[in-house]
Symmetry: C2
Subunit: 253 residues, 2 copies
């Protein structure tokens, strides 16, 4: 096999949470990154998304607690809230004597996928230009409050949030671990995971020094328990499910 170009770059990329306090991502750079990223694939070329950029310290002040005061919010050059957006497309339809029918769950899912592809295209192009970012999962935890702060209208739901900036010292963190690709790829049909498969797939991750420390610090028996009991407990997942579902309905899907 020929060696893949950019394999090492993609293989070694990493999330950046701490940014330079002096080197800003300019409006021109942001705009150019978004323009090129908008050529990511999009359903029927509809581009069912919008981005709200936060630079104003007062706005960051309001948004920070909604992201559990992660320091990356106030420390970034710009924060981007990517929204699944059927509003603009509907406005176009209304202005053009067309009757839109996007007030449903599937239209939201379509917009969510469009938005995700666009966001990741932005992230990759930014990284190729030495600009780092960090996805904030908290955006869906407090989506309703975030939607209010950002004044999102009907048919617009925040789904992805990124903090963006240059690295403090020009250097990105080391890449984090991933499961072996054989663990995620199925040939022709899905092959159920046997106990021994699970050991093969998750064993190397469990052996990492970082994982062992994680288990110990949280007073748990296994790494999996850190995920189920501390990081993503069922009760919390259910609560977020309810609030996020409520917002989707409230925004007209």
């Amino acid at each position: 096999m020929e060696e893949l170009k950019y394999f090492d770059f993609f293989r070694n990329r990493s999330t950046l949470r701490k940014y330079s306090a002096t080197k800003e991502v300019s409006d021109e750079t942001l705009s150019a990154l978004l323009e090129a990223a908008s050529h990511a694939p999009t359903t029927g070329n509809m581009q069912l998304y919008s981005v709200v950029a936060t630079r104003d310290p007062k706005m960051k002040e309001r948004l920070a607690p909604l992201h559990f005061n992660q320091p990356t919010v106030k420390g970034c050059s710009v924060m981007l809230t990517f929204c699944a957006d059927l509003n603009r497309f509907e406005r176009w339809c209304e202005e053009r004597n067309a009757k839109p029918g996007f007030d449903n769950f599937h239209s939201f899912i379509t917009a969510l996928i469009d938005t995700s592809l666009f966001a990741q295209q932005f992230v990759t192009l930014a990284e190729l230009n030495g600009i780092g970012s960090c996805y904030l999962g908290t955006v869906t935890y407090n989506a309703e409050a975030i939607a209010e702060v950002l004044e999102l209208p009907e048919r617009v739901v925040p789904v992805i949030c990124l903090t963006v900036g240059y690295p403090e010292d020009g250097v990105f963190p080391a890449a984090s671990d991933r499961l072996p690709v054989q663990g995620i790829l199925h040939e022709e049909v899905y092959h159920p995971y046997k106990s021994s498969d699970i050991d093969d797939i998750y064993g190397p991750k469990e052996e990492l020094e970082e994982s062992r420390r994680f288990v110990e610090e949280n007073g748990k028996e296994t790494l999996a328990q850190v995920f189920t009991d501390v990081r993503y407990p069922g009760k919390m997942n259910k609560e977020v499910s309810e609030s996020f579902s409520r917002l989707i309905k409230k925004k007209g899907f």
Copy 2:
């Protein structure tokens, strides 16, 4: 502003629907692309996705009608169905004395975003290596039947489908149009679209030769009507919403 590296590459990328009949994407290349792409950002480093690869002509034969017999299905080197997957992670939890709580809507949404970022990372790395792809939106239209053909178990839902291959003649199609970036970017808060904004944003698209032909061929008055009446009518969106919601519930979310 310094010129962005890779701006032109991202700006000019395009979807590829027709593939070389002689040059295949090898298993080694596919595996390497997926490995590097798996370093895309993922929630809590959980990698809540799986990929089912389809090469067997008999499997393509079964899947083709579920994708409305788009020729790209049988014509591709390999078809990839990306699935939101909490099954593997749960299996790990069960094997490690941890009680998973992922049987809810938000866990599905988290997995869907994880899956989308991973898929797009794959697409971009493939394109950087001269390999093209095409997203098939039909995957969510017939998700239930596709899940059966691919033998997807509980907590696994197909959300993205790509056909993949080298271009027939080594050349990708021209890039398609996109809205001006000012039309999708909001500063600090969401600014509602006025009629004149809609004209500015969608006007250039409506003026395209391709758009005019599209309107004429479909016997419509406006381009927007082609979207609302022909391509994505409300009745169809609602039906797909119901079937896709049913599948998500059936798969335990």
